[in-house]
Assembly symmetry: D2
Homo-oligomer: 349 residues x 4
């Protein structure tokens, strides 16, 4: 059983998003302002549409924290949907509120619509898209913020940077790429890098494939909606062994490396160097410029529905990835060092 | 609990590699020749060193199969090490056989040596490298072969192809790249693609991050020793939404796609198109040309030990990835369709 | 990974109890009245104290259900604490609301207080008892009610009966036992039986210890606060083999049994007979008549704190057990038959 | 993911039983004589049949141990079947060895035969009974022995005692009960108690139902073939609260208890007192005196097949239970304290 485990729930236009985290050691300062600041980071970024203004997400802690500190109990988090009054009937839990207003039946390419409707036997695609929406990453970032609060206590800090937007690798051309996409009614993806510093040596393991921290990070990042490529460290393609591998040296009596092409992971374990994880996000699939599709009632040609208008969400996605890597790191730290309270954990590390 | 779960064991120069697989439905034809053929595929490939000749791996089934068919019990697999007589004392389980012959203390860059020795509190790096060796992928391929036998019954077939070696993207230049690396006492990596055809729609799910089949595949592939990049479908970097997304069409009454940039996965689920997963393997870290390192006894500069001589193992690694994707697919199929016997499973699908 | 998995949260006097259930097939009628009726059943029973009147629990569904039906997304449930306004400061999440009002430091025998305070490094025992309270079983019963709604669809029905209170095995003496305990400022436990009818043959498995449904049921029932004994079927103590084992017969062309001493489980699997699980609940540890204890600040003799006044909660506990067995059964059914929608699941069974 | 996890395999008359344990810290002395002594303890006990003489089980360690110490790698264990030469064709993995010699089709009451054959779609019941046999507990005891070696290092010791055979609660009448059963061609069960001393406070948790150590122990013990009742501590049936609960006292400056009715567990956690777990084993279902049954080919009345002749196996079962509790304890200790090497673990505790 994982040590830091959680479940999330919530539909994009439902009443709220929630999460329950089980496994947070007692005694962690649960700084609500920090969690809200992380939620804010996720909502920002050039290229986001108008919904971000409605969403101004705020966290509510329902349990597991008393007088500012975790007590070992599961922590329940909630982010309310500020726009819910406009969706009450459409998203109601009660059968008597049934309406087919806002239902729709044209599969959007690049979304869960088609596979989800087949899997869950749904005709109204809203029953799929409401959960597959990237909106759910808001509560995931809140979970990540709690993980980061644990990491902070241990001196571990993370950050993320966008490194490419569309075909631009130079930051001062990013806005232009996004503007062009927007003008064309199109969307654009990009690449970002997440870095965590000051990690202990030996998180993960080489002894069994599913203990490898590289695999766990890859799972956490690849399963973010819209991510299609995950890289750890420098992409080695085209390099030979003598160029790629990170030679050792001793500096101030400490074993360290000349380079960090491995991105801080060798043999499925952290090696003490910075953890470096990059990912490529595909262009957002919902565009003003419609795509050819099929209507699931008539099985006839149709045009994919337009619901959102972000032209680019790479910055936001980087924050989600940073959060998810935090989940993995905290779980690995708790598995390696144990500790039911943060005081005990600190003693073990 | 996973439906198709297993553990593997074994050191590179130990007596044998073993695996126990729990969750194979009853009634599957366990074709030993097929498993051996998969083991053979893993051992082949231009650029492999001499050990492959010694290793000629053969599977032995110890339990879980009776008269050619699985019976629902855990299946135990063993691959004996043909060279064990030369390692009996060095790798002995018994304390009285202790020898420091073949022990070594210089961390090899790119390997688990450093992180593993810190984590597991070992001075003799052999206690780490014996398990971190890619040798363990032999038994993983055997497990994958069992998974493939289940997939075959359901009409699902996989394959893999090397698409780049070093800087060569053209197959007729692959051998040359490898030869050059070898001549230089260097090593070279590359890229490959794994394809699975004829998968049902709706493996994985969009409803929770850890149900996404993209994440599970990424974990299984990224945790292969030496893999640093995993891609699903076409790398979308630089493409805009209208270029990348796979429009729908109806063909012979079936919903399908004009393109398959998504690599068969949307919303964390298979969408009925071919599953396409690529990965980049780093150059093998053990080279004739030594790398700078540290001796863990003296903490002084040393040169990394040379144990293996493969110049390139990308073909072999592709077979391992193909096997691992098979694990994930079988598990997802069993989770989705249930079925304790292959007959029942077939009825459900 | 389990198919029907969930997490719960909430402190006894906190704002609310919550649960998130992941894995409910789509298309299940989520009957809120039924869930509330189950919550009501838990609160009833002769011998409960006054708090039950305050608690009149009502479920709120926050997500995962649309227009009366599950949609495959995680289902979030909430039971608000009607008395929270009186505990706002004491149970506040915010550090600025700190108060040591209602804190206490004397370990109550029979409770989590001592072990919990050591484990989680807490001086104020309220940080332990708020979560260890049986109050959390309210939301567990709600989760069980969702499980039962799935079981109902498949024709599986459960019930529970109290079979002993104190030393009385005859129902018409139960109230008298409870009254006597109450008059003495004491508490009394008892025994109950949970029965599920109409289960398919072959839930669980004999092939690996952790697949046995007997073990899974035992875990679910033994981990209910205050349960110390779990029995499956007839207690075989003192019986010989020829008396105990359930001989086969054919009736109306169906294989069935002459007796059901095994309680519906053989070889870790359901065998088609009624599932029969009994459990013994210890007397509630909080009594008017105080117990000798220790104060954790002074390490001196003290008397255990009195917070609740139920003299007997066996009826309530039986409802909790019935709910928990429902969790296990649904999970096993989903593992065995798969099915992402209730329509598909019904076809598989 | 559990920290101490393993899989076992093997059929009763197959080539061998095997296990792979993943999660053993490095540096543990793996004392083969101790493991063999535990295997011997399982085989002894008055009332066992002749097969025990054939079985004289010996462990073989295939991997994960070097020069007497665990190295962090998965540990593979094997117990060969000394009688396999007589079963080679009957139990062969190869289709060409097919024989229906030793196949049988009459369900034995009290066994997995019926449910297993329905579940796994098998006509020859040997395909079920070979795995459902108690023979598989031999390798489970070996796994338990490894767990005990870890516990020993930490000063934790376990033992077990038979407390009732048939209707005899007095040890000097046990043999007589067994002899009588044997003479009648019948079988007899009994009760035993497992005790572990010197456990740390706070294994398990009250914060979530599936973290409770009581539930985990109940699962591990109830899933032993033939166990139908599990009790923790004193059976509280008929006791009132003031009699049952364990009052606190201070002795030599240490918090301890006047009594230990709770059996060392309160609130789902160890409380520092001795862990006391009892269980009732049903009479062995295979008896000389046959039971009424059904033939699965003809659906007609038949008499249950006789394969084994133990009249009583309670002593042996107690050893299995002791082993299984050791699994749970080690896993909980590793989850609570972490530690990849035994040296680090000791420092944490």
């Amino acid at each position: 059983m994982e040590k830091f485990r959680f479940l999330t729930s919530g539909e994009s236009h439902g009443k709220c998003l929630t999460a329950i985290i089980e496994g947070v050691p007692s005694g962690v300062d649960i700084d609500i302002d920090f969690i809200n600041a992380e939620l804010k980071r996720r909502q920002e970024g050039y290229g986001r549409g108008d919904r971000m203004k409605i969403e101004d997400d705020k966290i509510e802690i329902l349990s597991g924290v008393r007088h500012g500190k975790s007590i070992g109990s599961p922590i329940a988090l909630m982010v309310k949907n500020n726009d819910f009054q406009n969706w009450q009937k459409v998203m109601s839990v009660f059968p008597e509120d049934y309406t087919d207003e806002k239902s729709f039946t044209t599969y959007r390419p690049g979304h869960a619509d088609y596979a989800g409707s087949v899997k869950y036997n749904q005709t109204d695609l809203r029953n799929i898209l409401e959960r597959s929406s990237a909106r759910k990453t808001a509560i995931e970032v809140a979970v990540g913020a709690v993980a980061k609060l644990i990491l902070k206590t241990l001196g571990v800090e993370g950050s993320s940077t966008v490194t490419q937007i569309g075909s631009a690798c130079c930051p001062d051309r990013f806005h232009q790429e996004i503007d062009t996409a927007k003008e064309n009614g199109d969307s654009i993806g990009g690449k970002f890098v997440v870095v965590y510093k000051n990690l202990p040596v030996g998180l993960g393991s080489h002894v069994h494939w599913d203990r490898g921290i590289d695999g766990r990070i890859a799972q956490a990042v690849m399963s973010i909606p819209a991510i299609k490529v995950v890289e750890i460290g420098t992409n080695p393609l085209g390099m030979c062994g003598s160029q790629y591998h990170d030679e050792f040296k001793v500096e101030n009596g400490e074993v360290c490396r000349v380079t960090n092409n491995a991105g801080g992971i060798e043999g499925g374990m952290t090696n003490g160097e910075d953890l470096v994880v990059s990912a490529v996000m595909k262009p957002i699939p919902t565009m003003l410029k419609p795509l050819n599709s099929i209507d699931n009632k008539t099985n006839e040609q149709s045009q994919a529905h337009y619901e959102r208008s972000d032209a680019c969400a790479v910055e936001s996605c980087a924050v989600v990835a940073e959060s998810r890597v935090a989940w993995v790191l905290v779980n690995e730290i708790l598995l390696k060092y144990g500790g039911d309270s943060i005081e005990e954990l600190k003693k073990h590390i």
